[in-house]
Symmetry: C2
Subunit: 226 residues, 2 copies
Amino acid sequence: MVERFGRRIPEPTVVRLPLYQRVLRDLALGAVATVSSAELASACGVNAAKLRKDLSYFGTYGTRGTGYDVGYLLGQIERELGLDRERCVVMAGMGHLGHALARSPGFMSGGFRVVGLFDVAPSVLGEIVAGTGVAHISTLPDVCRQTGASMGVITTPASAAQDVCDQMVASGVNAILNFAPSVLVAPPSVHVRHVDFSAELQVLAFYQAHPEPAEAASDLGAGLIL
Amino acid sequence: MVERFGRRIPEPTVVRLPLYQRVLRDLALGAVATVSSAELASACGVNAAKLRKDLSYFGTYGTRGTGYDVGYLLGQIERELGLDRERCVVMAGMGHLGHALARSPGFMSGGFRVVGLFDVAPSVLGEIVAGTGVAHISTLPDVCRQTGASMGVITTPASAAQDVCDQMVASGVNAILNFAPSVLVAPPSVHVRHVDFSAELQVLAFYQAHPEPAEAASDLGAGLIL
DNA sequence: GCATGTGAAGCAGTTCACAGCG
DNA sequence: CGCTGTGAACTGCTTCACATGC
């Protein structure tokens, strides 16, 4: 056992937990009772040793000679991800992307509750999106304090992102998911994650422009897993 | 110099290139002529030594004692990212997210041209989104071959993602950006990147549920950058 | 016998620190 | 004299390999 108490979970491990959670949920829906690390790792597209090491950071959840109980492991991972308690989320920027995310069934579910949608454009103020009305950004502090919202999603243009970020932080939000193409500055106590679609496309373009010296030599079938 | 020819660029470096590009573009718009690695790194929220090492993989673009010429460095990075030539992109899945991405000014610009939007739902077939008509997925192979599209974006539900991926690969697409919450299997010659919104939220939830043992002790001001 | 859990080894990316050059 | 470019040190994730235990 590495560190059951002394928390020091590698970030790459944390990032893989949602993946494990989703695949385990699919297995559970398929009435699969147990999985070995090799099977689960294959379904997740990762190395089996890495999967076992990831899980070992949190506890001893498997049975030697058998594998993992799907339902039990799923529950443990969801507990570690903090999905057992509901979290209130506010979102600023109700353009096309904001609308899409607010309506997305997969995005705002499983422990995340939208308690406020905000913008400044009169054309969207008052509109009801997925059951929540769009309010003016100036009411964000009140909504955050009343609901105790601790998470914020920024889908504004880049020019407004830092300002919105500051307002969220001042209103008690300590975890921010930023979709705007701008570098946010926030206190160290606030966790910020950045998602940049066009950057992802550019990374793909880079790899197209820089083909591997010796790649795709033995491309027999689609034997990707393992 | 490390490897001007023998390409072996670390992936983290590649992922940071679009960030540098965007910040440099902003500097250029602000009529800034030169930047030091410290200034640029600060604006990007990264370490200065890391920035210099990243650039050194591609060449010697700076001037000792002075810094980097903004316009020249920007051009070099855009060339490395392959943004000098236009790339044709097809997108499958025209739900809310697909609509939002197709309309996004920042997403489909700068070297990326949408040549096809696809779905299966009669309710969206024929609709014009951002100047392109939505066609049935069965026409994807024809469009890819006619336009030579090499990049694909998947915004379908998870249940359709692998099928769409297979069709794209069979049609000559060798770079795929997947927004569906599913693990795609593709030949090694095809580059796949995955963006998962809800996973990002879950990662934030994890860090909220696991506060650092000794965090935010000296939180004087927002002195985040250096 | 078989699959987990984990020290130890290996490897990759980051950071340091300074020589080299404008 | 300042800032880049980079070998070297360092840190940390990944992978291996096997003892452990069902």
